[in-house]
């Protein structure tokens, strides 16, 4: 996978994860063009796009669009299921997730994504295991002395 974008129906970017090194300018350009293209598509249309030399797989969940760019030989359907599994993970973590959860807790959404996909490849597909890993890190108790810690520079 080359990158994953989450954006709203209004075209606002909610999450972006790039697995290929690109300059900020390119990223912005791609995001802008892709958001436009995907939003212009009608609901009954195919979830796959050929966009430049990439294949784009997208799916809409409520007001959010999930959009992945994959390489030519990659399997489109399984990518669609990756999106679905990610949504399931978010749903389970937040408890019936909505766009606002992701807006306000986007860093959590990133943590979940990082446990699920690593370097653009599915790392762990078991819902239970992914969430366990995320929650374990969440539960880390901060050591007491931290409160007295003076920042060191």
């Amino acid at each position: 996978m080359q990158f994953m974008l989450l954006f709203s129906r209004q075209g606002k970017l909610r999450l972006q994860k790039w697995y290929v090194p690109l300059s900020d300018k390119e990223k912005k350009k791609i995001t802008r063009e892709l958001v436009q293209t995907v939003l212009a598509r009608k609901p009954k249309m195919c979830s796959f796009l050929e966009w430049r030399d990439l294949k784009v797989v997208y799916k809409r969940y409520a007001s959010l669009y999930f959009c992945c760019a994959i390489e030519d030989q990659d399997n489109e359907l399984i990518t669609l299921e990756i999106i679905h599994r990610y949504v399931e993970l978010l749903d389970k973590y937040f408890g019936s997730v909505c766009e606002l959860d992701i807006i306000f807790n986007f860093e959590k959404a990133y943590f979940i994504l990082d446990e699920f996909l690593l370097g653009g490849e599915a790392q762990e597909t078991s819902k239970k295991t992914v969430l366990k890993a995320v929650e374990q890190a969440d539960l880390l108790q901060e050591p007491r002395h931290e409160y007295f810690n003076v920042p060191v520079y």
Partner: protein, 1137 residues
């Protein structure tokens, strides 16, 4: 909006209790982030948002740089910075602080720090170096979570050069008791493998360990690495096929824990990964494929649930089945599967079905035939993506009969399409189809006009280039050429009379070239009229200066007669003061040439495209100039690689791009036509490289074996081939009788089914029949291999009437100049191309000649040897013995058994060396003559064995040898005089080359006498390849550089690259080294220099450069003809490989 506010407010209480909410608490947003988000949503204009964010960023910036900010606050600041970046505002000042946070924070803060780093930076960012120490520390942490974080960030990005620093630690993690750590470590190694495969070369055994890990998750992770490695080198991992098959079997059989199920399908990701790996392993490998048939069958059977995930597996399965060695049973099932996809009402599945069809259609065109109605429906689908994919499918099944319909559909799509990328791609495809299958001139010109108008200035520049080349080089008949050009002129004139302002620049350039070159063909069209039209173009504002120079060039060609001169004068006056130097030059040319008819006729002869340009490739006409310049103290010319080397020595920095830019740019400028203005400016800019031109210009006289030229003379030649063959290929096909074909050609109204159908249905049927016509017949020619449509595929331009008027002579003639075509065409027939390439006959005659081949050879006692026949008596010299004896097939070899004993007669000083197979030369009742050649360090020895098979002794044997190409001298002091009954006499000769030739031949006569009787004589000939005389020449790069300059005879050609290994250049050179005994002097990046000599003192140097997937070879030698001959052998060696 209010909803947002409300939710934010409900989140407020949590903010009071500091931010560290654990678990999945809803809206545990930090106060600052919350208010930022709320603030943004309340704004109405983009401008306000910008103001707010800039204010926000300023405040973040201030806080992060304050020494009083705690890590906890820092964490919160980072989250806000990430948010601002996501909105598209730069917060680069925070990058360094993100790294600091990852370094100094406690676990929770560290996590945000790492996240920020991974979102802010990419792997080429310099700040990433600062992260290395942090990662090192965390990898050694006792806290599992910290180790996990470090591994997570490493798997996403890590500076390539620093991999060695952490590699041991990551490797160590492969033995970690926790599977999550092992899994992440494997993925980190995968990342390393992707960015720096060499760094992890040595730990391949660890990958195997990961593959055998008891945890399925870790094993799955290791498959990413294996997929990558196997894709690059399937040969190296064939032994793992069994293991992969076993794993897949277990997964499919549901042996994995329930945890791995996804919607009750066992580990679909793992299954797909394995299927992809199997596809790579089984490709072109029957025995490996056989191992996987069973499990593939089971996968197909098990995946029956109606869910996306099973379809995903099925799709991968089908792809795999069509990639590996075919098995009819599986193919049948896979085809059914594709059918289900195509027919599915679900649009996603339909799309994939079309894609799968596109993938398999070349192997199985009938499948497309089965689904023709669905394909027709998809062609009118409202979703452009589906339409696009359908066109892609149609593109693959285009043939001469359905080309008009398919191209029409593609152009239709192009007219509505908005996406530039698709346009460029599709325009290229239309042009390719039009060139390959155009049914007539009018259609071709019109289609290309549409291509140029729609493709505009975005399309690939080679489309107009090859179009012009096609026009100028012409076809088989002068009359047809004339008609084509005339039609082009007519249609362009009418275009210019319309609204030329709307035409793209590229098209205007094409138009002006064609008009300049060919408008004289239309007699009633006055040059002045065309000039006025062109003049109008010049005046248009939108015309670019490049186009203007094309127009001026065309005007120069047309400026004849009174009206012409006056227009020319006017125009040249306007542009001779132009700021653009090229335009100014063109204007000058126009001015001078329009006044001097004679000069113009010489500079721009009419129809000059047909005559090859004579080019002195050694640039000898410059010798005087060079020596003068040298005498005046100029520095001698150094070839680019030498300059580069010196540069590299002079400075520590590698300046490779500069060194390379010259040759690359020269070869990459495509030469459309020597008369096009762009080319002229190119060649004048790079006057040093007229040799590159010579390669194209002088192509007629040079050997062109193996040169890939799409529109060269052979291109046109090759295109004739199917026409000749069509009668033979298509007649036996049951689906397409010749009469049917004729029908289909004349009209597309042919309906496949006689059953009456309702009206709209009938239209579709009609469309279908016109689209899928000829598919059946194609299937008979199609092989299992996926032959991508290559540009050289024979072009079928309907030239019916011309063809029939006896053009076989022309074929023969043109074949003489290009033996390569024959060679390529027949290479599948396993004919010995040594013979084929020299026979210049039309293919049909050729087969008959070849069938006579052996007898002829036997009768004349001609023996032809290749170097590969050399027997391995000394293992050190030649190892490549694979083809030994292949050539000997036809020669009935009565002396076979004697071979061994004959070799014992080899003179003692030669016995240790490597000698060629001992070949019978001729025999009669009393004498058997055999010979072989032995390669010595500095010479080549020819040894002739005279076996007396009679019962009486033979006396007064006299052997006389002669050769056009060779110097033959007898080695023995006292030549053989007699041979006793049933014994062998041996004569040894030393051969040197007088005049290089691809093969050299020695003819000889033996006269002898029995004690009683008259003298008798036998004649024989012995042929051997030039390569027997080639020896490696060991020189240093410096010596090579000086020698290179001294040599005057050269030749250039593009050869096929052996690209199955990792280093194509080195591999190719190694093959040449092995087969031809060349010495590889040095390989510098994309270039290699090689040296050899013809025995003692006739060196030949070779310069190779990788360019666009081929090997550009340049040979130089002081010996005439040697470069050409050697080029031939290089080419043969690479072809045989």
């Amino acid at each position: 909006m209010s909803d947002v506010v409300e939710r934010t407010l409900t989140a407020l209480p949590s903010l009071l209790s500091l931010d560290s909410q654990s678990g999945s608490t809803r809206l545990s947003s930090t106060s600052k982030l919350g208010s930022l988000i709320r603030g943004i949503t309340e704004l109405t204009s983009k401008h306000d948002e910008e103001k707010l964010i800039h204010r926000e960023l300023a405040s973040i910036k201030e806080q992060v740089s304050s020494p009083n900010t705690s890590m906890r606050q820092m964490k919160e600041l980072m989250v806000r910075a990430i948010y601002c970046e996501m909105l598209g505002y730069e917060a680069s000042f925070s990058y360094i602080h993100a790294i600091k946070l990852a370094q100094q924070g406690t676990a929770l803060e560290k996590r945000v720090g790492y996240l920020a780093v991974s979102l802010f930076l990419n792997e080429s960012h310099e700040l990433l170096l600062l992260l290395v120490n942090t990662v090192l520390k965390d990898l050694q942490s006792t806290n599992l979570i910290e180790v996990c974080m470090a591994l997570t960030v490493v798997s996403q990005m890590f500076p390539k050069d620093m991999i060695p620093a952490i590699l041991p630690l990551v490797e160590e993690k492969l033995n970690h008791p926790k599977e999550i750590i092992r899994r992440k470590a494997v993925l980190a190694l995968y990342k390393f493998y992707l960015i720096a495969p060499n760094q992890v070369q040595h730990i391949h055994n660890k990958f195997r360990k990961a593959l055998c890990d008891k945890d399925p998750g870790v094993m799955t992770a290791s498959l990413h690495i294996y997929l990558q490695m196997i894709q690059e080198n399937p040969e190296g991992y064939k032994d793992l096929t069994g293991s992969f098959v076993t794993i897949l079997k277990q997964v499919v059989g549901g042996k994995l824990p329930m945890d791995f199920n996804y919607h009750s399908v066992p580990a679909p990701w793992l299954q797909i990964q394995l299927l992809r790996i199997l596809a790579f392993l089984g490709k072109n490998d029957q025995s490996t494929s056989e191992i996987m048939y069973e499990v593939l069958d089971e996968s197909l059977r098990r995946a029956e649930m109606n869910h996306n995930i099973t379809y995903a597996i099925l799709y991968e399965c089908v792809k795999c089945i069509y990639t590996i060695h075919p098995k009819s049973e599986l193919l049948e099932k896979a085809a059914k599967c594709i059918g289900n996809f195509v027919l599915s009402p679900k649009i996603n599945l339909k799309y994939l079905g079309l894609k799968a069809l596109t993938y398999v259609v070349q192997q199985d065109p009938k499948l497309a035939l089965q689904h023709q109605m669905t394909i027709i429906e998809c062609l009118d689908h409202p979703d452009l993506i589906i339409k696009r994919e359908t066109l892609e499918l149609l593109f693959r099944i285009t043939n001469a009969q359905n080309v008009t319909v398919i191209v029409e559909k593609m152009l239709e799509f192009l007219r509505v399409n908005k996406d530039d990328y698709t346009t460029i791609d599709l325009v290229g495809k239309v042009a390719e189809l039009a060139e390959k299958y155009a049914p007539d001139n009018e259609w071709f010109i019109e289609t290309m006009s549409t291509v140029f108008s729609v493709g505009g200035d975005m399309m690939q520049p080679d489309i107009p280039n090859s179009f012009l080349k096609l026009l100028s080089e012409g076809f088989d008949s002068v009359e047809e050429d004339r008609k084509l050009r005339l039609f082009a002129v007519d249609s362009y004139v009418s275009l210019l009379q319309g609204q030329p302002g709307k035409l793209p620049q590229r098209f205007l350039q094409v138009i002006s070239w064609v008009l300049g070159e060919y408008s004289y063909l239309r007699e009633e069209l006055e040059a002045a009229t065309v000039l006025r039209l062109l003049d109008k173009l010049l005046d248009m504002k939108s015309t670019s200066s490049e186009t203007k120079s094309w127009i001026l060039m065309a005007m120069t060609k047309l400026s004849e007669g009174g009206a012409g001169v006056s227009v020319a004068k006017e125009v040249s006056e306007t542009y001779s003061s132009s700021l653009d130097t090229v335009l100014r030059q063109r204007a000058q040319e126009l001015q001078h040439l329009s006044q001097d008819c004679e000069l113009r006729a010489r500079v721009l002869p009419r129809d000059a495209g047909l005559e090859p340009l004579e080019v002195d490739s050694s640039l000898s006409f410059l010798d005087g100039f060079v020596s003068e310049a040298l005498a005046a103290g100029a520095a001698p010319y150094k070839p680019p690689h030498q300059r580069q080397e010196e540069l590299a020595q002079a400075k520590a920095l590698s300046l490779e791009p500069y060194g390379l830019s010259l040759p690359i740019s020269m070869s990459s400028c495509s030469i459309a036509d020597r008369q096009s203005p762009t080319l002229l400016s190119v060649s004048s800019g790079l006057s040093g490289d007229s040799t590159d031109l010579s390669h194209k210009g002088g192509s007629k006289t040079l050997k062109l074996d193996g040169v890939k030229r799409v529109w060269g003379r052979e291109g046109y030649l090759a295109q004739r081939e199917p026409l000749e063959e069509s009668a033979h290929v298509e007649v036996p096909s049951p689906l397409q009788s010749p009469s049917q074909q004729g029908e289909a050609d004349s009209s597309h109204s042919q309906t496949p089914t006689p059953i009456p159908t309702p009206q709209p249905e009938q239209e579709k049927q009609q469309l279908a029949s016109s689209l899928f016509v000829g598919l059946g017949s194609q299937s008979s020619v199609c092989l299992m291999g996926k032959s991508e449509p290559t540009p050289q595929r024979f072009r079928r331009k309907a030239k019916g009437p011309v063809l029939s008027s006896g053009s076989s002579e022309q074929i023969t003639n043109s074949l003489v100049s290009t033996p390569s075509t024959v060679n390529n065409l027949l290479c599948d027939n396993l004919l010995d191309s040594n013979i084929t390439s020299e026979l210049a006959v039309s293919p049909l005659e050729q087969t008959s000649q070849l069938s006579q081949g052996p007898t002829v050879a036997n009768g004349a006692c001609d023996v032809e040897l290749t170097d590969s026949d050399m027997r391995e008596s000394s293992p050190s010299l030649i190892r490549d013995n694979g083809v030994a004896g292949a050539d000997q097939g036809p020669h009935e070899d009565p002396d076979g058994p004697k071979d061994l004993c004959l070799s014992t007669y080899l003179p003692a000083e030669l016995s240790g060396l490597c000698h060629s197979e001992i070949t019978p030369l001729c025999s009669n009742q009393s004498l058997d003559l055999s010979a072989c050649h032995v390669q010595e360090e500095e010479s080549l020895a020819l040894v002739i064995f005279i076996y007396n098979s009679s019962d009486s002794d033979i006396q007064q044997i006299l052997l006389e040898l002669d050769s056009d190409e060779l110097e033959v001298s007898c080695v023995c002091d006292s030549p053989v005089q007699e041979a006793r009954s049933h014994s062998v006499a041996v004569c040894q000769y030393s051969l040197t080359v007088k005049r290089p030739s691809v093969h050299v031949e020695v003819v000889g006569t033996v006269t002898y006498q029995f004690p009683v009787g008259t003298p008798q004589s036998v004649q024989f000939s012995y042929k051997l390849p030039l390569t027997s005389f080639i020896r490696p020449l060991t020189v240093s790069t410096e010596e090579y550089g000086t020698m290179w300059l001294d040599f005057s005879h050269d030749t250039k050609q593009k050869l096929t690259l052996i690209s199955d290994g990792q280093e194509p250049l080195a591999d190719t050179l190694n093959v040449l080294k092995k087969k031809l005994k060349l010495h590889v002097v040095e390989i510098i990046g994309m270039e290699g220099i090689v040296a050899c000599r013809l025995l003692k003192d006739q060196p030949c140097l070779m310069h190779c450069r990788l360019h666009a997937g081929t090997l550009s070879v340049w040979l130089r030698s002081p010996v005439p003809d040697l470069p050409d001959c050697l080029m031939y052998h290089c080419q043969r060696a690479l072809q045989e490989h």
